[in-house]
Symmetry: C2
Subunit: 349 residues, 2 copies
């Protein structure tokens, strides 16, 4: 066990504050990573505050982790000391079920082990996330960060990036695809960049003209203001795929009307009860409502390599560790373009 | 105008009874069909009784129509007098929008013209369905019935058949596909036969062990009793595609749990508000809830040809025209295997 500097929440109403945690001694297949940067995801905030009622305290958030390998277990062959590496939303899975064998560990039949607020599969110890100077992760869940990617900016790829990339790939988005990205936050801004990178024609669908302009600066071809009834009517049946990044429950019918025949709306933001809607909106065009959750490890590596090749990186605001509580306040007001990333050199301790 | 024998409902609480209607004089592109048989669809009953609140009386139901061409307009080249032909749920569309140009006239942007309870696009006259000795339909909406298909048994292919076939094709069901058909009625029994014909491994999912046995007789490989919790749990994640033919609103979560990753549940029966469910059931495996409505004319012809090639026909109970009200009563009790077909030689008048 190694005493490690971290920042944690100790109760639902407690701020994120310094806490020394224990990281496990290296097992043969473990990689010990000195964390250089950690992205700040909305899930961090929700979990820290127990918004989903499943938090075990103390909680060290952070699952958009990049860093440098500082030690490896005796059986590690995948990475070496000094390598630029990354860890996303999961640190283990059964590695034996159909989903794991298909490299979709996020859908492990026995449940993936989350990077935080989960339990180690071997000794039951709590998992602690990336608001920390270091993390120990088995090699199968360690990604390689291509040299072309800036470490600070690469961090949000590990959650926001892969969460957008996996559905775009699964629903065959490419040249000729008419893609709408609904909502411009951490996920939405990656959705725009990745869909463009895949060759699609991309429309930002937002309530806010200002966000529309921002999306164009990010590469969106068009903007559709969802509160503009005439514009929405004019855009009926004009999309093959909608990446719906709205983080709260919302009415689907206005968006389903935008889908052309055989189109799919994929939810990636709202993990909640879906409001009831009329099935005729699906039957009238072989349309589908789908969902997608992060991506498998192999696909995450593919996404990192794709971003390196295409020069795609999140837009981030780098903060000091002690600015995290203020960052949460700003996130609640959607006052961030588009992801906070903690510079872990500032963790102190 | 030609006075034509038909049976119609004249009010929501009136039985189906004889009524002479006027069929239009042939336009150049029209085909005049002597109806030999007409299938009895649940939509007929719902429309006759105004269950959906959109019925204009008098209503002549029937959109599973087969017959013989007895006259053609001057511009008709597609069929000849004496041909075995069929008409399904639609008799016209704009033929100019993207959907029509893609041969998906059922999703016409301007709305297809229904075979009954609709208005002719040219003169606004009401459309009357197949509970009639004859019908006049523009040639683009007339199908050819292959010689290998029995006329009486072919009738339900025009709605129940294509409604099952189109989604199976759209979601690429074929050899290796693990398909579940939910519900064994007119649609479900065609779903079993067509999915088997396409080479899939087919499971009937039903509340009723008796229906399960019937489905096996129809060709289903397996039966899953949806009220058997252990069986449902054991079948988790074991389907690629679910054809959901349940005709009323129902809870989706038990069925979504049956889908494997990237699987789709397609609604074809319940045209109603979908009960709310948790999006996590979709996100946890890139699953989708979709819908599908009948099929285009070209696809309907493809389905008829496929059924002829594979020897696939609905199981029907042929009735006399004057048995229609009793047939409706039996349909309400699901007392039919699996479709009533009216022998139009019995229409009288």
């Amino acid at each position: 066990m190694t005493a490690t500097a971290a920042w944690a929440a100790t109760a639902a109403d407690a701020p994120i504050a310094p806490l020394t945690i224990e990281r496990r001694a290296l097992r043969p297949e473990d990689v010990d990573i000195a964390i250089t940067h950690c992205g700040v995801c909305h899930s961090d905030l929700h979990t820290a505050r127990n918004d989903w009622g499943r938090t075990t305290y103390p909680i060290v958030p952070g699952h958009e982790i990049v860093g440098i390998v500082r030690a490896v277990g005796s059986a590690v062959g995948r990475v070496r000391v000094g390598d630029r590496v990354a860890v996303g939303c999961m640190v283990d899975s059964c590695l034996a079920c159909d989903a794991c064998e298909d490299h979709q560990e996020q859908y492990c039949h026995k449940g993936m082990t989350g990077t935080y607020n989960s339990k180690d599969r071997q000794d039951g110890s709590p998992t602690y996330g990336g608001y920390s100077s270091g993390i120990v992760v088995r090699q199968e869940f360690v990604l390689t960060v291509p040299d072309a990617l800036d470490m600070a900016r690469a961090a949000p790829l590990l959650c926001a990036g892969i969460t957008s990339y996996s559905p775009l790939k699964n629903w065959n988005v490419g040249p000729g695809s008419r893609v709408g990205v609904i909502g411009l936050g951490g996920l939405g801004h990656m959705g725009v960049k990745l869909a463009k990178g895949l060759g699609a024609e991309v429309t930002m669908i937002t309530t806010s003209p200002a966000k529309g302009a921002d999306a164009k600066a990010l590469g969106a071809d068009h903007v559709l203001i969802s509160t503009d009834r005439d514009a929405m009517k004019g855009a009926a049946r004009s999309f093959d795929f909608l990446l719906d990044t709205i983080p709260v429950p919302h009415e689907l019918p206005p968006y389903l009307a935008l889908l052309d025949r055989q189109g799919t709306l994929c939810l990636v933001g709202a993990i909640d009860m879906l409001p009831s809607f009329h099935s005729g909106l699906l039957l009238g065009g072989q349309k589908a409502v789908a969902g997608s959750g992060i991506g498998g490890i192999a696909e995450t590596q593919e996404m990192l390599d794709f971003c390196a090749e295409k020069g795609i990186l999140p837009d981030v605001e780098v903060i000091r560790m002690d600015e995290i509580n203020h960052a949460y306040e700003r996130m609640e007001k959607a006052d961030v373009k588009y992801r906070f990333v903690i510079d872990m050199a500032t963790i102190g301790g």
